[in-house]
Amino acid sequence: MRHRSLLVLSIALTGALTVTACGSRGGSKSGGDSASGTTVTIGVDAPLSGQNSATGLGIQYGVQIAVDDANKNKTVPGVTFKVKALDDQAQPATGQQNATSLVADSSVLGVVGPLNSGVAQSMQQVFETANLVEISPSNTNPALTQGPNWASGTKVRGYKTYFRTATTDALQGAYAAQYASGSGKKNAFVVDDKQTYGAGLAGIFKDAFAKDGGAIAGTDHVSTGDKDFSTLVTKIKSSGADMLYYGGQYDEASLLSKQLKAAGDNIPLMGGDGIFSATYISVGGTGTEGDLATSVGSPVDGLATAQDFISKYKAAKYPGDYGTYGGYSYDAATAIIKAIGNVVAANGGKVPSDARAKVVDGVQKADFDGIAGHVSFDQFGDTNNKQLTVYQVTGGKWVSVKTGAYTG
């Protein structure tokens, strides 16, 4: 009896090992075949499973399309690009491991990601040490580029390898507060998820809303992964707030909004780019109708330059939401590809040995029209494209209601 089960186990194990072996052999072979000349890898780090994965997958496939386009158009002659996407599960520790393994892969000359500001904090130093350029399409926490004391006016760039195509929460939170008080909201309840992004954004909104003359009905914090907000909902309802501002991601926000409306409190939830995702509506259901979100950039669906990208994304049936950061991911990858192109051209058509450092310089000088707006970076690595858009859930879809840049 014992022996038989042992036998079964070993057969199963052998089978599993064989399958894995086949998989890796097949993988490396196809990699070798496609390389006509040099293969350069663009790394991607984002949450590809679990929390935040819908927008994370949007980043992965946004980069994939940029790379496919570059290969098809032979943007860099003699160089074939491929994507290496790693899943950070929105965890800073996992993100750091991924950063280390991307650095260790010498074919990686640039990385797009991560999605979460908190994850970015754990990766920045790794990339800085390795001189590897990192462009986030979505990090909005101001401290990532301007240092921890940005609010008091002492802006210091901590990492010269870190760039982002998204603008910062200093503008996003203030823009949201301006819109909220402009639309007659007087009393806001502010909740955040204690993460770098969420707590930062909620704090900026709170200060800006108070400055615009609004009152704060109360504040609270949730933990990522929370599902039951009944206690919090009761608290918000009895506070008499006329809106709820949430700093965090759509996973918790959609449940919070749904439970709030189900308890009969019909005040809108407003959040940042973290909740601007189709998944927010599909999970939150009809409870999300009327909810508001600010997001970075102009609405990608309405951009003439992005139509080709959107049709490719849809035609390939890629999973995830391209709407939030897909366009910015495409532009981030393109910035890296263009920088590599210049480095290779200056070196007589070959990738130089110190390519990573040169690519960092190249990205700093990037200046081109991307599919989601103009791409160029200031002295902190922040984008010069400071467009923000307010969206509202109308008829089960995010509809843009106001686009502009924050002006004091």
Partner: protein
């Protein structure tokens, strides 16, 4: 501040009922084979996915009131199947092994089930939307009851009464009590202990499936990792009530739910405790309560004396 008290009590009660339903599975299995089945959280999770599958298979637009009984059957069937499989192929071969072996097997099984659902169930890498009962909330005094809560409110007491009657009155129930008291003597008296153990796993799984549907209806989603925290809280509830005691499990669940809701709602109002209030602290209070009970009354609220057996 206190005008929200009835609502917060109700919130705690609904939350606690779900914990209690899951806790039954821990406590029944422990009562009979002294195994903490750490895969029970995942049995709860598969129940949710089983119910969701039934809903997705049914023709689009089927009324939820019609679908709900079928979802219950589908969810219960799935989790019972998984629980029986786990018992037969993972735990039974280890029954005479040292106590640690089945415990490790349970943890491994829990991870395996999570990953299996994550990788094999379509689109389960992110939470799947669970159908909602499109009515409510109902106002009852100062309390709002939502449609998902209504299901919990009906299902949990019915389940408990049926279980109590089953254990007290039926032949199998009495055989269960006998096996729990002394498995060797029970076997000598002609009780098929293997069947009894399997029954305990199956009953726990049915309750877990009911809890999973409560969960799905309340939160509108099921996810591959939903069993982890729910399982941990339910295990806490089982220990709180006195592990091995089915009434203790339900009571432990309710106490835990109420403590969590009340501490989350009112802790911040106690002078000097502002920092410790709010939603983010809710799991902390659940486990603080567990530590207090273990210190002051190690056998749990309705404790079974397990010391002389363990």
């Amino acid at each position: 501040m206190l005008h929200t008290l009835p609502q917060q009590l109700a919130n705690g009660l609904f939350l606690g009922s779900t914990y209690g339903l899951i806790a039954i599975g821990y406590t029944m299995v422990y009562g009979i084979v002294q195994l903490i089945n750490f895969a029970h959280g995942e049995i709860f999770m598969t129940g949710g996915f089983g119910a969701l599958t039934v809903y997705l298979v049914l023709p689009h637009g089927t009324s939820l009131w019609l679908a709900l009984p079928l979802m219950l059957i589908g969810g219960a069937a799935t989790s019972v199947l998984i629980a029986l499989g786990a018992e037969r192929f993972a735990y039974r071969p280890l029954r005479t092994a040292p106590r640690l072996a089945p415990l490790i097997a349970a943890i491994g099984l829990s991870l395996a089930l999570q990953q299996a659902v994550h990788n094999l169930y379509p689109k389960a890498t992110s939470p799947r939307v669970f159908p909602q009962i499109p009515s409510g909330p109902w106002h009852l005094g100062g309390v709002d009851i939502q449609s998902g809560d209504l299901f919990t409110l009906i299902a949990a007491p019915i389940c408990m009464v049926v279980l109590a009657l089953f254990v007290r009155k039926s032949r199998t129930g009495r055989a269960m009590q006998a096996t729990a008291q002394d498995p060797d003597t029970a076997q000598l008296m002609g009780i098929d202990t293997n069947r009894i153990i399997a029954t305990a796993f199956a009953i726990g799984a049915v309750f877990a499936a009911v809890a999973a549907i409560c969960y799905g209806l309340r939160y509108g989603q099921v996810s591959y990792d939903m069993g982890f925290e729910a399982g941990l809280k339910a295990f806490t509830a089982a220990v709180l009530g006195g592990i091995g005691n089915i009434y203790g499990a339900m009571l432990g669940g309710l106490v835990l739910g109420l403590a969590e809701a009340l501490a989350t709602a009112y802790m911040a109002d106690i002078p000097g405790m502002q920092q410790l209030g709010g939603q983010a602290w809710s799991p902390v209070w659940a486990f603080v309560l567990l530590i207090l009970v273990l210190l002051l009354r190690p056998q749990g609220l309705l404790g079974e004396r397990v010391a002389d057996r363990a």
